[in-house]
């Protein structure tokens, strides 16, 4: 017994108590009982002593037995200093509902917002069952059909650098076992080892026991693969598109062609757009900024990388200081760079230092696409085909040359609105190229 209910005093304040006298009634869990005094004396009941019905704890002071003439302590002491009740504060935060790590992981995997899940656990704690009840059954099913792997095989896969998520398990229920990881590692061991030593770990893919045939992978292919994957996985890419009226651009190009000299290259659409792009970048330098762990880096020089398709694969030679080049220079240098790229004679310097990339798939009739950011840059422009299309001008349908621009930018560096303003500037430049080229 740790506490009981105080029944009543069986003796009055000031009465003389003999040993064995019943003093008061205490109600325990099972019964009420008379509590006898083990000592003799005069009973003194303090004014703040327990009242009938109050809970009293074992050891709690109820009253005093004093000698004749002795004063009880409550008569001699001054009134006790009052104290303010201190309530325990409650933050009352609704930010994150309580949930265990397993529940959180499950919510992450199922893309469930835990705040929306009613918790049935103590204190509103969200349990795995709550998450299961919340998400549509189809998602639960998907989660339960995920690849299973034995703990031993999982550990081994980590040690051997094997990505087990694509393996087919040989266990009776499809579980990936130690032997599956070992055979995968044996089949692709050398390639996997090379990749991991070149530091492009995200590119590792082990196809297990697929029959083949297998193509060998060139160093360039590996580099492209690594850079492309990084452009997708290590940035926050967003792609926006806009359609421009390219009629004036087409018109301008016609004029260049008609007045061209023999020994000078006629600026192509790509050259025109590169030059217009440089103007837009001068007005929106944020698109050239770069995300680094230390902070946002502002590179010097308006160097634009231009994607060039070659037999060996994609290359992006860099055209330097485009803002300072004349359109004629742009066309000439671009022609030279493209030739170097296709002949494999680019130097390392020729492909370094770009602050923005432009990629043109218009010659294949592609209108819009989602180009991949060329790290450490923050944006890339995809240029589509110029298409003769019906346009509505002053409520009249008229034929027009239309060009679609696709801009992928890294949202870590640039927000949507400034990116859109940049693209708007570029569109306006394309629609009125004469004025823009004068700037």
């Amino acid at each position: 017994m740790e506490e009981g209910t105080f029944g009543e005093w069986l003796k009055r304040d000031g009465e003389t108590i003999e040993r064995g006298t019943a003093l008061f009634v205490l109600e325990g869990e099972k019964s009420a009982q008379d509590i006898e005094s083990l000592d003799r004396g005069i009973l003194r009941i303090p004014p703040d002593g327990p009242r009938p019905g109050e809970t009293v704890k074992v050891g709690q002071l109820l009253g005093y037995l004093v000698e004749a003439g002795e004063r009880a302590p409550f008569e001699t002491s001054t009134a006790p200093a009052g104290h303010l009740p201190v309530a325990v504060g409650d933050a009352g935060s609704a930010a994150t509902p309580p949930a265990g790590p397993a529940t959180r992981r499950m919510a992450r995997e199922l893309k469930v917002d835990l705040q929306r899940v009613p918790g049935s656990g103590p204190g509103g704690r969200v349990t795995p069952d709550d998450v299961n009840a919340w998400v549509p059954a189809v998602l639960v099913k998907r989660a339960s059909e995920r690849v299973t792997i034995s703990p031993r095989a999982r550990r081994l896969a980590g040690q051997l650098g094997v990505d087990w998520t694509s393996l087919r398990g040989s266990g009776r229920t499809g579980r990936i076992r130690e032997r599956d990881v070992r055979s995968a590692a044996a089949a692709n061991g050398p390639a996997a080892a090379q990749l991991s030593s070149s530091g492009h770990s995200p590119l590792q893919r082990v196809a297990g026991d697929l029959p083949g045939p297998w193509l060998s992978v060139t160093t360039m292919r590996k580099t492209i693969a690594a850079r492309m994957a990084a452009g997708v996985h290590e940035t926050a890419p967003v792609t926006i598109t806009t359609r421009c009226d390219a009629s004036n651009l087409v018109n301008l190009r016609q004029q260049f062609r008609q007045t061209a000299c023999n020994d000078e290259p006629v600026p192509g659409y790509n050259d025109l757009i590169i030059k217009l792009l440089a103007g837009a970048l001068v007005r929106h330098p944020q698109l050239t900024h770069q995300w680094h762990e230390r902070g946002i880096y502002v590179p010097e020089g308006l160097h634009i990388a231009v994607a060039v398709d070659t037999d060996a694969g994609l290359l992006a030679p860099v055209l330097r200081d485009v803002d300072r080049l004349s359109l004629r220079d742009v066309a000439a240098r671009m022609k030279h760079l493209a030739e170097q790229a296709r002949s494999g004679s680019l130097s390392a310097a020729d492909i370094q230092g770009g602050v923005f990339t432009i990629s043109n798939l218009g010659m294949f009739g592609i209108e819009a696409f989602t180009p991949i950011i060329n790290l450490p840059q923050s944006a890339i422009l995809g240029v589509g085909a110029i298409v003769r299309d019906a346009a509505v001008v002053n409520d009249t349908v008229v034929p027009r040359d239309r060009l679609t621009l696709s801009l992928t930018f890294d949202h870590r560096v640039v927000d949507g609105a400034p990116a859109a303003r940049f693209l708007q500037t570029l569109r306006q430049a394309i629609e009125a190229p004469g004025a823009a080229l004068l700037q």
């Binding site: 009982q33 083990l38 074992v58 031993r152 009776r172 076992r177």
Partner: protein, 669 residues
């Protein structure tokens, strides 16, 4: 009831009378002070006071030497003080302090002070009777003149332990005294209601023992009767039942209601018969002591009591880090272990191997004695003791009545007092009647006494299904015992292990459940003739392998070996591990094997739920999760009582084909 006359008082010396007075005052004042302390919340648990019954402990213990031993009940403060436990140690114990007599592990109901011959009080009614008989058995075997005394209430007189204990004390003529403190209520059930014959003292005759009934509130009467009984015990004339009629004048336990089952008037009537006041009046009336002399004794005791309380309050609480100490005796060091018998070793049966171990240890250690039904001249139902009776006689090879609880409880008391009992209970099923003695007393005794008592007792018998023995001769039960802290549980699977483990069991100070699979008793195997022992907690790798770890226990070890012979296809190489002891369980060896194979199967004839397999699986899932290449699997006997008919019997035991298919399935997982 023998009356106390002035002439009796005259026969007791003035010095003794004053000692009796002083001791009663000590108990009374300590109890009242403890009651106050309980009201103040200084005593954390129960507090059963001895107020009103002081004359009994004092009158009996006045005849005891330090070497004599007392076993008592939940109402044991008075016995402890009378036997010589200091009030400081008593108070400190009830206050839960590190220097209490039980080092803070016992409280009011578990007072241990083996140094003073206070062998413990118990929260269970009855075992103290058996333990006192066991002490008597030790003293008989050791040929000492010590005496074992049990104090118990009238409630215990209706418990089986009373019947079995008094009967055994009678047939073996044990130096014991059984003191029934008849305070008329078993908690709140009156003896007049609960006994067909409430004259407890008269029941001694039913067992061929002398029975004496005295006024328990008359210390001189108790002193006189106890003196006679103890003298009888000391001189080889056997045990006595002494009934002392008395009354406790405080509630069963402090803080409990008192007048729901008895009246205030009745309590007041008994308070007037206070044993201390009675002696005081007589001492003054007969001119033996003056009131001043008695007041002076009372004042001295007041000082002692106040000092005890102050000492206890100032004493430190026990260090929480010590909470799991002394569950087992300190392990012996320097044991030379033998890995396996060398080739060419002679082959003997399992039963012969344990017989050799027992015979060799009995020859080396005269404190070993064996108890069981038919283990004397007959040599045991399974020939466990053949020939030993002729060598060691009836005291060391003791045939028992069918009183399993009795002789197991007796064995507990014997192990506490200097001898090493071997209890041979034939079939494991039989010993279930004594499980309270094993779990509540034997297993806990070392811990509760904070390692000051040892518990060198070996409990052996057959386990396992076979021979159409049906449900009362086929149980395994070892998970039950392995669950309990304080027990060692051994299940040998071959003659070599059986001998080495029994040798170790007979040399260690812990209680050992030595469980022998009946189906293996005639199994032959190599056993060296040289002395060797196998320490507990060391698994044997019966067969090394690479693909699957199979842990098998007892009878299942040869079954798995047979299964392995059938599994000859590549990719199924079995590593078979025999833990040999399930408590302690050698998880390290199992983990090391699973680290190699990645697969674990546990084969156990015993039931799956809450079993050894579950324990092993949980341990490996915890410590070896990343080693596992497949789920952990178990093969167990069916969760059913054992049926008789051979077809039914075979259906409840794991068969070789079950093991084969379980291993194949596990490899495919």
């Amino acid at each position: 009831m023998s009356s106390t006359l002035a002439s009796v008082t005259a026969a007791v010396s003035r010095q003794t009378l004053l000692v009796l007075y002083r001791q009663m005052q000590l108990i009374r004042q300590c109890e009242e002070q403890l009651a106050r302390a309980h009201q103040k919340g200084l005593i954390h648990g129960a507090c059963h006071t001895y107020v009103g019954q002081e004359a009994i402990a004092v009158g009996v213990c006045a005849h005891l030497q330090t070497e004599d031993v007392v076993f008592s009940t939940h109402r044991g403060h008075g016995h402890a003080l009378a036997k010589g436990v200091g009030p400081r140690e008593l108070f400190a114990e009830l206050f839960g302090r590190a220097n209490g007599c039980s080092r803070g592990r016992g409280g009011s109901m578990h007072l241990f002070s083996p140094e003073t011959g206070m062998m413990g009080t118990s929260g269970i009614v009855g075992p103290c009777i058996l333990q006192a008989a066991g002490a008597g058995y030790s003293f008989k075997l050791l040929e000492s003149d010590q005496v074992g005394v049990a104090f118990f209430g009238d409630g215990a007189a209706n418990n089986g332990a009373f019947h079995e204990g008094l009967n055994m004390a009678s047939i073996w003529n044990l130096p014991a005294l059984f003191v029934c403190e008849n305070n008329q209520f078993a908690t709140e059930v009156p003896l007049s209601y609960s006994a067909g014959n409430p004259d407890v003292g008269s029941r001694a005759g039913a067992y061929g023992l002398p029975g004496v009934t005295v006024d328990g509130n008359d210390v001189v009467a108790v002193y006189a009767a106890a003196g006679e009984a103890i003298d009888r015990a000391r001189h080889g004339r056997g045990a006595t039942l002494l009934e002392c009629r008395t009354y406790r004048t405080r509630a069963h336990a402090e803080g409990m209601g008192d007048f729901s089952y008895r009246t205030r008037e009745e309590v007041e009537e008994w308070k007037r018969r206070c044993p201390i006041a009675a002696l005081e009046a007589r001492l003054v009336a007969e001119g033996i002591a003056t009131p001043d002399e008695l007041r002076q004794i009372t004042a001295e005791i007041e000082t002692l009591t106040a000092d005890a309380q102050q000492f206890a309050e100032q004493s430190p609480l026990p260090d929480p880090a010590t909470a799991a100490q002394h569950i087992y005796a300190a392990p012996r060091i320097g044991i030379r272990s033998v890995s396996a018998p060398p080739p060419g070793t002679r082959e003997i049966t399992y039963i012969k191997a344990t017989h050799e171990a027992l015979a060799e240890e009995m020859a080396a250690n005269p404190k070993i004695f064996v108890m069981g039904e038919g283990i004397g001249k007959r040599g045991g139902n399974f020939n466990t003791t053949v020939g030993l009776y002729d060598l060691y006689g009836a005291v060391r090879m003791c045939d028992t009545p069918i009183s399993e609880r009795g002789f197991v409880g007796l064995g507990c008391g014997a192990a506490m007092t200097g001898t090493r009992p071997v209890i041979d209970f034939m079939f494991a099923d039989f010993i279930l009647d004594s499980v309270g003695e094993i779990l509540n007393q034997i297993a806990k005794m070392q811990y509760m006494s904070s390692g000051r008592l040892k518990m060198p007792i070996l409990l052996r018998g057959c386990i396992g299904i076979g021979h159409s023995a049906a449900t009362h001769h086929s149980g395994n039960y070892y998970p039950l015992y392995a669950h309990i802290p304080g027990l060692r549980v051994v299940v040998p699977s071959n003659p070599f292990d059986a001998k080495g483990l029994m040798k170790h069991a007979l040399r260690c100070d812990d209680p050992v459940m030595f469980l022998e699979p009946r189906e293996l008793l005639n199994l032959k195997g190599p056993v060296p003739t040289e002395d060797y022992e196998i320490p507990f907690g060391q698994a044997a790798i019966v067969q090394p392998g690479t693909d699957v770890t199979v842990v098998a226990i007892g009878r299942m070890v040869p079954q798995v070996l047979a299964a392995a012979k059938q599994l000859t296809q590549p990719g199924i190489s079995i590593e078979l591990i025999d833990p040999r002891t399930v408590a302690p369980l050698d998880m390290e060896s199992i983990l090391a094997s699973v680290a190699k194979t990645g697969r674990l199967l546990i084969v156990d004839e015993c039931f799956a739920p809450f079993g050894i397999g579950a324990e092993i699986a949980a341990g490996i899932a915890d410590c070896g999760f990343d080693e596992l290449d497949a789920p952990i699997r178990r093969v167990n006997g069916l969760h059913t009582p054992t049926p008789y008919s051979p077809t039914l019997e075979a259906a409840v035991v794991p068969q070789i084909e079950h093991i084969v298919s379980a291993i194949k399935n596990l490899v495919d997982e």
